[in-house]
Symmetry: D2
Subunit: 331 residues, 4 copies
């Protein structure tokens, strides 16, 4: 079974790896009971907490998909990775890093304390809300439409279709974004926003509301695994420097306040969202000889029951098992 | 020129790589002017700030040493890595992680705030003083002598000789350790210390005062690069799990409050000390085809002029250049 | 020279006390050089930093005015006192204290940290911005016009005329209120605001922009000195309980982060604003036998050069001298 | 019934006021059920939580004692007031205030955070542990014995007998003082301690272990009420300036993190200890005409069941009732 995509071939793997992944999904699914769906907006609360799906796409086009792989979900914080890359493409790494640092914090994703204590100082990193809103304010040139479009276009180049924004999710986020507005007004006062607060919030919430499936996420991961090069479309989408920096950020700050624990126990660059999605990236590796995807792969996971940190409980368990069994740990 | 060590061979490289490294040392040395030697105790203040030396040992025994590679210096915070491994060997990972978390903080290495705000809670990670003192209290069984010995023995197994403790440095540290005693009494009150405050402080300060050269540090890095296996002594010194966990910690928390920046710009597991030493680890890698040390290597760097974060200024510049030129970045 | 006001008499004192105050103003005026006018909006920056004026009104109607007593200025943070009293009149003390605590903090007036660290928790007191915005959201019943009017009406009852809002100041505040909006959105998320963020901010900034003179402020102080009773209009405007509570708040939190120092060195209930105004209250006292205003008095001070804490430098010096010479210290 | 003390007369009041106080004690005693005795050391835990006693001594020598007025208890944090006065007597107010500020904090009494965030900076006030330990390090001249003696002598001058130190309490405190040692080492590092950490801790814990009764505490309060003058011994023990400053501190910082609430609801200078004691001071007042103690009085209260803030629950209720009924509120 084959799918022609952009002149290159995705080949579905229905055999050994597929069955292993299927088994591991069965192992991990019960952990969903330890979490629950985000409930601050109706669309997230309605998700089925027992769902768990995965898509893996290797650098050679091999694709493994199983479980609830085709449920649509919104990017939420995974969009922080895309926004950061888009800003680096548009303005260069050094311009972006003048506005946002790349240090992990140990604070909650929506914390405002550090901005006050370390004042004057840039937001600590683009994977927390303060940093992501700052990055959103940089994007594009003129207005919020163009800013959001710069993210959608980047996704299009990686995924092969223009993503849509889930309008219901966006409207709900917009109406409950008090804490994000607090952060944004704080950033505005400190001079970090390149546009109005309302515009930055609109861009940030729209990028969070972009709808994807695990396959879209895996494809984004694949490009990162290949240092910005799209092995299926055969196109360099962003530079190796941007890719490496982004993966470093995912390791140190990608899994909210469990980033250190995830690095210690799973050991792969990843970014999670409160919708239950996880973007994971496996760079090519030298050590293992009998495991698949030696040339690297991208992984998309979806499991909407999240833990206290905001990460998919079953999704993390699944990635931990895959990493251990196939030696995906980069350290 | 060859050195027989434990029946295996270290071969000095005096050619291409050696000359490249020599040139890069010349490039990096001027950056030392941007830092200065730690001055809280006389022994550190007396160091020559313009020194810069490096030793690299590959998994195949190839060794490159140049610059001020043979200056003796004290481990300082690099000892946190050894202490953590020693505790994991003695008690198992899960026992240790019940007493110390593995999350980066963004706070100063000697900060006490987070212990109060997140109370009750373990120290955030073993690479900050609060975590390292907690780990020191676990070591060995009965008393401070035995605890220090458990670290020295581990170093002996990796380096091939029993290290000595610089008594002058220890005495100076002991007399000025007010802040560390404050941390330790706080930890004692919270029930995290397995021994008396004075004993934990003695162990911690003695491990900081262990004297090494860049070659010793490179050898420690080599064992970590090989997941706990010593490729020269041909011995598994600690488990792959401990090695991977330690390297993950070095990436997220190893370079003080510049850990995120170091991961973003250099991209290798590393741990620095205020003496100007840096322990760096290059795991085997798949991607590069014309650079050396494809099977991994350990690196020891010494450059006593440190920056505001506590990291060797010239040492970081040197590692950045090596990482870029030889594609050592793990992401 | 006499002024008939609401059937009662204000008598100007042009003699002994007047000349003493005149001399003390001369002593205090040079201290203005140690401060400078608030400069975050043009209207405040334009003030003449060397001005210093005072009006004292005793419970028997004796009035002493000298220096730049008739310069108009905006209430700024002094309005927090009026807003708090208005809310207590409308809703009762216990209703208000469920929404705002009465503890001093030691933090900056516009700090957001404590809201996050002590979450869930009410704003610490109504004399910091977070508390004052919360109080502003309670006022009146239906809309921002009515809320502002409830403050203006209370001032009218104490001062004898309906105050006007300085529109230029309000517009400037409105456009630069990023930090206050950050606070208000934070409070909104925590459920402490009884109206929309924009409405609460509008009310708060309008109350800050109310224009007064030292005589108006002294009259407000006089009512507080008499436990809510207006000795000239002969009317109980608010209860003794509200007056006592308000004066306690002024002592513990009224002078920004120098409240403790002001209590220690001056010892009278007072509230300052960044416009350089100070409202001070002298309750009746038993101890002194040869000083004036034994039955209490209200004091209005104006001196626009403020210190790092936000208090009028010369104004504080003047009050310190008066308190010492006439034994106004309540402790 | 009369007691001759230092040539002056204490007269017991057995009539109207006595019976009122007796009734109010009955009203307040049940509130003890809402608290519990401090349990960090055995001696405090053994206290009878239902006890409640009071002693009031007026400036004219009138004494009212009822309830469990003669139970001995240790000063604990009440000693912070005595230590502060002793340091001001020995070194002058300005010397002391260079080492400790007089600002309330809103933080826990044993908090260490503010020392780090506001570094470099003095401890915020002498009523929190950090400030009290700093003050203890100043006392006397040469050693810990002399430092403790300077406090005991001051108590002797006010109370008429040399107080004893409860050795059991001191030993228990000494062994569990981890948090205080953490604070002291922090202060040492910052250069605020005038002696060794162990010496400062010994002095501080010994002053906390001084044993008193409500009558002793009332006598101390009486001297403060009279601005440093002892109306019975007819002696000026410390200056009016020191007395006023101390009373201001008691109002802004004396009742732990409920100081603001106590000022708002009771309105008198007071200092509590975790043993359940409260020192309260009523300055002479002008307003009331039919209540007793118009010339001021000192009050000692004992009720060992304390609330979450560390204040005697029943004791605070009793003082609130007395203040309301007899209009003791100073505001």
């Amino acid at each position: 079974m084959e799918v022609v995509q952009q002149g290159t071939q995705i080949r579905f793997d229905n055999h050994v790896h597929f069955h292993k992944i299927q088994a591991w999904i069965q192992d991990s699914r019960p952990y969903a009971n330890l979490g629950k769906c985000a409930n601050y907006i109706p669309a997230l609360e309605r998700a089925n907490p027992s769902q768990l799906g995965i898509c893996i796409i290797g650098s050679d086009g091999t694709m493994v998909k199983t479980g609830d792989f085709d449920t649509a979900f919104t990017l939420q914080s995974i969009s922080k990775v895309i926004g950061f890359i888009a800003a680096c493409i548009d303005y260069g790494i050094s311009y972006v890093l003048e506005r946002v640092d790349v240090e992990p914090t140990g604070d909650a994703f929506n914390s405002i304390i550090r901005l006050e204590v370390h004042k004057p100082g840039r937001p600590f990193n683009p994977m927390i809300n303060a940093g992501a809103i700052t990055v959103a304010s940089l994007l594009g040139r003129r207005n919020s439409v163009e800013k959001v479009e710069s993210i959608c276009l980047l996704i299009d180049r990686m995924v092969g279709r223009h993503p849509i924004i889930n309008e219901e999710v966006f409207q709900s986020e917009w109406q409950t974004a008090h804490r994000n507005r607090a952060l944004a007004y704080y950033l505005k006062e400190m001079g970090f926003l390149d546009c109005s607060v309302e515009e930055a919030i609109e861009v940030y919430l729209k990028q969070c509301s972009i709808e994807v499936t695990t396959e879209d996420v895996a494809m984004i991961g694949l490009v990162l695994a290949n240092d910005g090069y799209h092995p299926i479309r055969k196109e360099q989408i962003f530079s190796k420097e941007v890719a490496r920096l982004t993966k470093a950020l995912m390791v140190t700050c990608g899994m909210y306040n469990a980033s250190g624990k995830f690095a210690a126990s799973v050991g792969i660059p990843a970014k999670s969202g409160v919708s239950g999605g996880i973007l994971a990236v496996i760079p090519p590796r030298a050590r293992s000889d009998d495991s698949p995807f030696m040339d690297g792969c991208g992984i998309g996971v979806y499991g909407p029951a999240i833990d206290e940190f905001g990460n998919s409980v079953a999704g993390v368990m699944l990635l931990q098992q895959i990493s251990r069994e196939w030696d995906f740990n980069i350290f």
